[in-house]
Structure formats: structure tokens, C-alpha cells
Symmetry: D2
Subunit: 324 residues, 4 copies
């Protein structure tokens, strides 16, 4: 029931898509960590709309650090980052309020909040809320990089096709949308992080399922591994130059919820963008009648694309939480 | 870093496979809830070994409620359930201590706990630790049933084959093992449970990844949904007899982390049992030499089978946590 | 190690006294609760400086709700309140940075954050951080009032004298300061709130000790009760008009961490304002030499006075957390 | 609403006074820590009844470690300690069930748990529940001692008299009881532990108010400090041999919720034992009539005495939580 994750490093996300601002508070970052602002903006730009193949809406997602940063370094007290919603055009959305969009949280927010939620543009459920996660996750990525940990995510599938077919897939959409699959890999992690019965898979999946549209999370061979034999899926240990490793990585860097020192590998399944240009069936919550719905405005044909840096951000935040 | 999950209903799991006892403390159960002991034992028996197709080891997993239950009802104070480890035969395992078994937590526990973990029989990482989860989850199932919520899980795939081929799959194993896929479905849930940016998927996956061997979790159409178009994956709303519902359920009962009132559906991917009878490559942690490993003893050919009631137990505990 | 409290209603406080802004995120407020802005500003004004007997510094503590409020009501998603630091004059403070002020967190922040904390004006440890607590606590007070719960705190002692002697006490200070004692009383609370071994006293004290300067918390007869006999301190139960109550209230409305339905009564001890005009002994953290310190600027002669509404705010937030 | 405290080291307490057993699970202890069993039993004996001046009831509070300890050392997985309730005589108590004892949790437990709580002997609210806290806290004390941190608590007041008058105070009681004041001091703590707006006072007080009967907590000069002037209460910093310290310790080792390196000093106020031999007024919860109540059995004349090691245990657990 909360918009927060983390134990020693807590991230609390706030804001609605068309409200005054969105942002996050991150509490527990180590003090004295330099923030490379250019690197951070470049990282956040990967998530921003307007890039090729994403929605042409223009958002000035400029993060303002209102606390916890002094002389370019973290102070040790909570960092609050704010992103003003400067370019809000609610007219596209407001008339829909009584008709829940299929695949969106409109209906469930209505059920839970009795019509009080500010659902303009998706409200607190909007993918826009991942911008502040990228802002604070970008700091975590910089801290981890200085400790030798690199995190990289990429699209591996678009609408069931390999990622190199993306352009073709998009050209055939005609207002429809597709889902996608992201793979994230983190290297340089020491063995022995995580643990407890509810270990690193638990913590990572908790945060990853907070990314709007994520409907599946798997580690290492994941679902494919459930179709294998033990002799195929087990990763044999071997030693070379006094270093223990595995040549295969079906375990995805985690055994018993604890890192093995091998690359951490997970994949997240993003559903197709629910907002499509095609006419859909829905209901009018006021009159309780079946109605037709046509969503106006332009939308990302595939939300997975912009979720790539978000996966990296979340991974960095969860890993750093284990290391402070 | 903990063996606990839950917010208002916290479950804390303790014990090692070959230690004195295993158990769990559940704090936050409502007071005055009757416990049907026969029903609970029958539920736990589904997880117990010795059933057809599972390991023939015999464990007397009899739960002893040492607190929180009085005159057959919950008191409102923490319930501690204990299961004595009466049938421990460590000899099969103890000699392996310096040679980590591929696919097990032996190596990571060594890395994390510097050799102090009691890893006999898998220690705290053993699938045996799911017995107390079933004990306390069985209580949650009974409470939910009285509120009209029914939870049912089943095997849907064994080693990549449909579940009805289980017998054939097992007959061809010759000491090898297979993974499996479990689907869990909960009905009778009201719309509006969960929520926050980190909603019910987050809470469920956190707990589900604590089940030993789980490497993937998906809700509704999950990974398959990521290969679909929006027009295929969106579930249209419709109304009949003043009740709003969706005819399809690709969303798995959850939109925006909040229940829609449709059945909650998730699947978990279990890796193949890592303990197999075939010789494997490993290393000697003391001498840092590559060695051959042959695991003695009998093991479940597929850990997914006994994880079925565990999935139900975890689902019940997480749902009840949202309802108190 | 965190700037957050609460279980179902979490309050996360951020900001530094002379940074860009201070604020708080409150996650978990029920949806649809009206916010009376005039009432809220009036409540916050009680904490603001510039009132009689407090420091003449002028802060425009105007709360800006950047999320979670829509059409004057709570939306159910996190409420972020921001207060810009518009009137920052750091010059009074900045030269002190190497010389920790006795009674302040300067030295401990240096020890913990290795000199990276932004300690201008007290930084994150400043009493100014109680302004956002009043902003979100003021909302909680309004919600509780609608449910029949009234909370009222007042000064009961100033520098050891009864509160009516305040003017005299202050006139004799000559640049020195005094501590104070606040009593808070909440009425209309139903019996049965709280509980667990770590009950309402635990939750209240956790939050109350976060108010800068609080060094003691007691419930009911508290420390005085420890000097009594059982026959004097026990509150006899009696019944009248089918209502059970106690005529005395040494238990302060709490037995076993659970509310009895009698008024909740607690007192908090505030230390004297550490910033005084008199010369004090301190050390230079750079040269490790003993030095004399004279703190410039004007300060509250007694921080307890402005902490009165903060006590009410904290009480409301903790009580509401138990009721959602 | 829970019987748990701690962040990285979580302590979950379970059991009822006259149930099958009481105990605690402690999750997060570092691995490889030796447990000196004799030292632990000696520590627990200080809390046990039967010592001079405490109740003559005999409880065999022998702790059984059922998990998390292997070959005399912590394994890193959760430690569960069980204490069987071998000597339960419920007859003294059972007939009282409809008549709440003044000063006890009988009435509030009834209000909260609708009569389902097992209140025999005080149930989950009994002082007996501090035995498992001493068991796990005793381990924490041993760990801290190896790191140079020593914790010592003692009675400083009994019924308002100094502790050396204890014998006299008790002789004049005639079935009545008295409260008491405990002071706890911890030395060897490095500067820089704790922090955040809700720092070490918050965490300590949260746990301390869980000790049955505690109604007040103060740090350093505490309530007395609120009656002082700033010039009297501030602790001047000085330096000698390159070490910074304060000659006085009104701050009790904590400034801004962070340790200064000076001794941590706090006091807790224990109310008089509510069970007294004198006749008291109460009500019958069934008939809603005013009745007279006379409590049979023997009780501690002052619960503060046996709470002394509990204060040390709690202090150790909270400090260790900050250090792992």
C-alpha cells in the first residue's frame, strides 16, 4: 500500500502526471558522494519522451535537488528531487474520467479511492513517475560505478520480435501498441550480498514490479529454466587463478538470494501500452452502461523502450541498499 | 537481508534443515479466528515429502502452536508454530561441506557467512523451511475462505511438458531432475485492494521469490503478454446486472497494483531440483581445486510439486495482510 | 538511521535549514479528506517564528502541496508539501563551521558525515524541519477532528517555573535560554487502538524524540508515577450508564500499549535552546585547539514554545496511523 | 501494532505467560559470533524471579536455541530462542477473567481482542515476555563487549527513595507496591552512530517502552534539563591529547540523535506493580456492575528490579542494530 521501497536506502516517490510536480525522496545515501550532473541528465534523457520511436510529447524533466546535496555532493541527509510538470495539457484526458481505459489503473483507482484520485494523464500511476526514480537511481549508478559495479539494460524483444526488428514492428502498428522484454545485467558485484530467506530476488522484484506496465520478472534462466533438466540448468563451479566462478550463468548471479559474484541478470516483461488509437469497449462508471472508447492523443507504441533506464535505476538502488 | 515479509501481518521464518526445529512467527493475525486443525494438517500434508512422485524421505511435519492460539482460536498476539526436526540424518550431507553443490546456496552462504552457516541439508536455505510457511499460511487460507476468498494453485508444466505428462517425464529422468511451472488463482477478492506505486505485484513477488527455487514470477498474461499487441492484451470492461467486469483476464486481476475484482492469477517458475544423482563439476573450497561431485541420497525429481501449496500459502498471507 | 516514521501512514521529512527548501512526503492518507487551508495555515502559524517571545527572524513558511491534493481533497496518493527557504541569511552561521556549538548536532554530524553535511543554520537538524511536520500533521488533525478526536498541547513549565511565569523567566535571561515542558492531551479516542508488545507508547515516543531538543517523554503519571505506590497509581475501573471508565488517569490513556478510551496524556521535556548569547568553550575541529565561541544572531529563548503545535502534529500522525 | 523492533537486526517476541512457551526470533545477527552460555545464563538469572526482594514464584527460564546457533556460534540465519512455560499455575488467575485488574492490560486487551486474548497471568502483556528479550539481548551484550562496548544498568530510585533504602521501603509495603527508576549507561560507543531526524533516542525509546510498566524515558539530563538554563545544560567541548570530549554529560551521549562518543545515558520510569494485595475497585465486564477485586497470589513488590537487565538487553540490541 505504499509508494516506497528500500530498507537502509528508502526511496519514496510522489506526484501525479498532471499535478504540480513529481519527485522522490531518497533517505540513506552515503555522505560525500559526488554527483556528476551532466552524466545524470544524459541518463535521464534516455527515459525522456521525444526520442526516436517514442511519444512526441515534450517534457522538460529537469531534476531540481532541493535537499541533501551541497557543493555537488550528497550531505547524508535525505535527497529530495523535484521535477515540475511544466507542459501539462489535461484536455486530452479529462473528458475520459468516467470511462476507465482498458489496461489502465483508472478503474482500480476509482474502486480504491472512491473517485478522489487525480487520474489526469494516469495520475500517480503514470509512467511519468519513473522520471524521479531515474533521477535518484542515476545517483546510485554513479556511486556504484565508482565501486566497480556497472549496470546495463537493453530491449531484447519488441512485440515478440528480436529487438533489431523494432522499426519494422512499429511500422505495422497502425495505432496499436506492443509489449517488450528488457534484460538487465550488472557486473562487478562481490559474492555474498543479499541473503535471508527473502533475499535479493525478493527485493529486486518488489521494486521492479513498481515500474508501470511490468507484469513479469525472472532471474537467470527464469521461466526457460523451469523447462530444463537439472543437469542442464545447474551451473558447475570451477576454479582458475584461485578464483571460483561458473562458466554458465543460468542462476543469474544469485543462489539462495545471495550474489555469487557472477553477473546479476534479470529480465522484465512489459505489457503493451494500454493507450491505443483503436476503439475499445468500456463502461461509463456513472451510468453503468457499456460504451465505446476512443483514446485521443499520442502515446508511446511500446512503453518498454523508455523503461530500459528505469530498470537500471531500480537495480542500482536495490544493490546500493545492500551495500551501505 | 531478512527472513521476514509482511507489513501488518509479519511472517518471520526461522530454522535450519538439520537443526533442532524450524518454525515461523506470524504477528498481526486478527483475534478470534478459529483454526480447523484437521484442515490445516491436510493442507500441510500436500507439501510433505513421501507423496507420490516426491522424495521418499519421511518428515513428521507436525506443527506445534506454542503461542497465539487459545481454545482453538487466534488470540491476537503473535502465533509461533514449531516443527521439530525429528528425522534428521546428516550423514548424507556432512561430508560435502567443503564442496558446494551446483545450483544450491552452499557457495553463497559460504561467501556471506564465512563458513559459519549450518548448511547440513541445505540449512536455512532448504525447501523444508516452506513447511512453517504452510502452517501459518494455512491459517490465512482458512480466514480468507470464511470471507469468500478461495485460492488454488496447481502444476501447469513439468520440465516443459503439460502437467498431465508428469509420469512420463519422471520415468525418463534417470537421476536427473526437472523444473516446473505453477499457476495460482484466487477468486472472491474485492476490487480496490493493494495500491501505491509498489502495489500487490510487488508484495506478492517479494514473498514468492522467498520460496526456494523460484526464479520467475508473472501476473496475468505476463511474459506472453509482452509479445502481444495492446488490442490483444487489453481487457475490455463491460457491465452486466450493474456489475463491472472483464471477459478476458490478461491483467491477472491487477491493474496499477490494485485488484480489479477479477481472479488474481500468477505463475511462478521453479528451477529443476539442483540435487541430482549425476556427477557434476565443482570445487573444493579449502584446497581451491576443481573436483567431481556426486550427491548421495534421494531427492525430489521436481521441487515444483511440493511448492504448490506453498504458493497458495504465500498468496493467502499477502492478501490477508492487505485486508486487516 | 532515517528521517521517516509511521507504518501505514509514513512521513518522510527532508531539507536543510538553509538549503533550497524543506518539506515532507506523507504516504497513506485516506482519499477524499478535505483540507481546510485557512485552518492549516493558522495551525502552522502557531509554530512560526516572530510570535511574541520567540525569535524575531521572519520565515514565510507557506506550504505548497505539490502532489496528493486535488480539488481541495486528498487523492490517496502521497502528499508532498514543500516550504521554500526564501529568507536564508547564512552569513551569521557559516564562519562557525569548524567550531561545533555546544548542545547542537554540529559535532556529531561532522563525526557521522565526515564534513559533508550542510550544517548552515543547523542543517537537517534544525528546528525548522518541524514546519513540514506541522503541515502534514495539520491535515491529520483535521481528519481526526472529523472523527471526534481532539488534540491539544500546551506549555506546562518554562525553566522549571509554571507556564504563567513565562514573561518573568524570559526577562531575567540576559542572552541565556531555558528549557520547557509540554503536555499533550488527546480526547475522543476509542478504546482498543494500538497494541503489540511495542504499542502506542513505542510509536509515539519514536516520533516525538524526532522533534529537535526533546530529551524526555512520559505517559500519564510517568516519572512521578515511579515514585508512587501501586495503590496510589492504579486507576480503579468503574461503570456508569453502561460506560466503563477510570476516575483518575495516571495511566495516561494507555495500558499495555493500547488505548483505554480515557484521554491520552503525555509530556515531553525540551532542553534549553543550545544557541545562547554567552561565550562558551568549544574546540576547533581543524586545529584541534580549545577555543572560545560566541554565537551571533538571535535565537528563541525557549524552543519548547514553538514545539507545542509540533507535539500535536506528531500525536495526530501517530494516532491516524493506527486508525487507517 | 507489533511485537517486533529493529531494522537490520529484528527482534520478534512471542508467547503468553501461561501458554506453552515464550520466545523470540532475532534476525540479522552477524555470523560467527560465539555465545558464552554460562555468561548468558548468569545474565538471564538477574531477571529471573526468586532472587531476594522479588516474587518467590519459580520459573525455569532456561533458553533453548532452536535455530541460528551451530557449534556454539551464530550461523547468520535467524536465531529462535524458546523458553518453555513449565511451571504454570493458572488457578490463581483464571477466575479474574471478567474483572479487569487496575493498571493491567486486561481491559484494553478485552477491548482490542474481543475476549479472545489468552490473558492468564497477563498473557502476552506479562513481564515474563522480557525473558526472551534478555536471552537475545544477552547475545548482543556479548558481541558488543568484544567490540569494547559495555552496558550497565541499575536501580537509582525505589518508590521515590534512593536505591540504598530499598529494604526499608519494601518492609513498609504491607501488600502494596512501589515504582522505580532505572539508569542505564553504555560506554565505549564510537561517535557517529545513529542519525536521521528519528535517531537513536527514537529507536531506543521505541524498544524501551515495550518493557511492561515503562511509562517514561529520558536521555542525559532529560526532564531535569528542561528546568535548566542553556548555560547550565550545554556541555562544552574540549580537547585533550587530540581527543574531543565534554566534561559534563547532560546530553547523555547523544546530540541530534547521533552518538558523541561520551557515555550513552538514559533513565526509564517503571510504574508500581499493578498487582497488589489490597482490595481495589473494578467492574465486571459481563454484568457491567461495579465490583470489589482482591488479587490473590504473590507478586513482585517492584517490577523495576527485574527490569534492570532488560534495559541492558534492549540497549544492546538497539546499539548492535546500528553497527551491523
Amino acid at each position: 500500500m505504499s509508494s516506497e521501497f528500500g530498507t537502509n536506502i528508502k526511496v519514496s516517490v510522489f506526484g501525479e502526471s498532471h499535478g504540480a510536480a513529481i519527485g522522490a525522496v531518497i533517505d540513506g545515501l552515503p555522505a560525500g558522494e559526488e554527483i556528476n550532473e551532466q552524466e545524470l541528465l544524459a541518463f535521464m534523457a534516455r527515459r525522456a519522451p521525444g526520442a526516436a520511436l517514442t511519444t512526441p510529447r515534450k517534457e522538460a524533466d529537469f531534476p531540481r535537488f532541493v535537499s541533501g546535496v551541497y557543493k555537488g555532493k550528497t550531505t547524508g541527509s535525505p535527497v529530495c528531487v523535484m521535477i515540475e510538470n511544466t507542459n501539462v495539457k489535461s484536455s486530452d484526458y479529462e473528458k475520459m474520467s468516467a470511462i476507465p481505459r482498458p489496461g489502465h489503473a483508472d478503474f482500480t483507482a476509482f474502486a480504491k479511492y472512491s473517485g478522489n484520485a487525480d487520474m489526469r494523464g494516469g495520475g500517480h500511476f503514470s509512467g511519468r513517475l519513473t522520471a524521479p526514480i531515474c533521477a535518484v537511481g542515476g545517483i546510485a549508478l554513479q556511486i556504484l560505478k565508482r565501486r566497480g559495479i556497472l549496470i546495463n539494460a537493453s530491449i531484447v524483444e519488441i512485440g515478440g520480435a528480436t529487438a533489431d526488428k523494432m522499426q519494422e514492428v512499429f511500422e505495422g502498428l497502425n495505432g496499436d501498441s506492443v509489449g517488450g522484454l528488457i534484460e538487465c545485467c550488472a557486473t562487478g558485484i562481490p559474492a555474498g550480498l543479499g541473503g535471508g530467506m527473502f533475499g535479493l530476488e525478493s527485493k529486486l522484484s518488489y521494486a521492479l514490479f513498481g515500474i508501470p506496465g511490468v507484469k513479469g520478472v525472472e532471474f537467470g534462466s527464469g521461466f526457460a529454466g523451469s523447462r530444463k533438466k537439472g543437469s542442464e540448468n545447474n551451473d558447475a563451479f570451477c576454479v582458475k587463478d584461485e578464483k571460483i566462478f561458473t562458466e554458465t550463468n543460468n542462476h543469474g548471479g544469485l543462489l539462495g538470494g545471495i550474489t555469487t559474484g557472477m553477473p546479476l541478470v534479470f529480465r522484465i516483461a512489459l505489457k503493451p501500452t494500454p493507450s491505443i488509437a483503436l476503439e475499445q469497449d468500456s463502461v461509463d462508471l456513472n451510468t453503468l452502461e457499456n460504451v465505446k472508447l476512443k483514446i485521443e492523443g499520442r502515446h508511446d507504441p511500446c512503453i518498454a523502450i523508455r523503461a530500459v533506464p528505469v530498470a537500471e535505476a531500480v537495480c542500482a538502488l536495490v544493490l546500493l541498499d545492500e551495500m551501505v
